[in-house]
């Protein structure tokens, strides 16, 4: 049986298997069609109906269940998450599991299209070491990401490590990023 305890392991393995079958486009379709539109239809419904309250409800539940080390904050216009210990990337790092070249892209791969459908854009960075931050705001809100929080993951001494930093600005596409 395929289980949920080590889900992140076979999930990441599946990305590379799909890439070998149909290239990167099949992986993107997988994140959008299987994860966003099928598996994750519950957050899609929550966020479409409730906006920021739906985001709080969804991520509050799933990140607690997954045992994440994170902090979230919100205003009436912006929802922000600072992930200090990503449960899934952490699982892969601890178990030395790496088949696909950039596991972290999967979050933007399903969350980006989901939010686009709901009229939201994403500012996001991840450091490939289990840390990232997100700010989600409506597409017609042109303000820059600036929500101040003492839990800002970028304040960590290890935020900029040896791995590249992937940066998304008002994005909804996993490939709409700059790498530094």
């Amino acid at each position: 049986m395929l289980g949920c305890y080590d889900f992140c392991g076979h999930y990441e393995w599946t990305f590379e298997w799909l890439r070998q079958q149909g290239g990167e486009s099949l992986v993107r379709k997988y994140w959008d069609e299987a994860i966003h539109r099928d598996s994750q239809r519950h957050p899609a419904a929550l966020i479409a109906a409730k906006g920021i309250e739906g985001m709080k409800e969804y991520w509050g539940h799933i990140l607690a269940e997954e045992g994440a080390g994170y902090h979230s904050t919100a205003t009436d216009a912006v929802f922000r998450m600072d992930m200090h210990e990503c449960p899934s990337k952490g699982f892969l790092i601890r178990n030395a599991l790496r088949q696909y070249h950039d596991y972290c892209d999967h979050c933007m791969g399903w969350i980006g299209p989901l939010l686009k459908k709901c009229g939201w854009v994403v500012d996001h960075e991840h450091n490939h070491c289990g840390q990232c931050w997100w700010e989600l705001r409506r597409a017609d809100d042109v303000t820059s990401p600036a929500l101040s929080t003492p839990h800002d993951v970028r304040l960590r001494n290890d935020w900029k490590g040896s791995a590249p930093l992937d940066t998304y600005s008002r994005a909804n596409d996993p490939d709409d990023k700059t790498v530094s």
Partner: protein, 154 residues
Amino acid sequence: MTPGAQTSFLPHTDTKPVGAADFYFAINATFRFVLNKLGPDGLRQYWTDLGARYFAPVTARWKSGGLTAVAEYWRAFFAAEPGAEVEVHQSPNEVTLDVKVCPAIKHLRANGREIVPCFCEHCHVIGNAMAAPAGLTVRVEGGNGSCRQRFTRC
């Protein structure tokens, strides 16, 4: 069965004692996606490759530890699956998994998810891909929420 993995018998371990049940949604959705894109043969190939490659560390333990290692693995496995009600029995010639409540089917049904019709086949295909290199085979009787899986020597 006491919830929480006896992680020494699992190849990949986590800091939490049991998995997040909502991941069963993604497993079911993944099967549907592969089936729609690559057809039934593609889905069987996906399961076969998962069993032979991703689960290779489990097979290695079964190869060296025999049926005792098989029983240890499945006890630890189901202890880490939320909602599982499974009895694992070992005799000199086989290990039997008496799956009274499949945690995946239970969670998918409880949340009104459309279950891929061939969902239960993955246990048979992945199980045999894991077992064969260790000189074992698995037979599955039942399904759709409860089943019996028998691991025997070839």
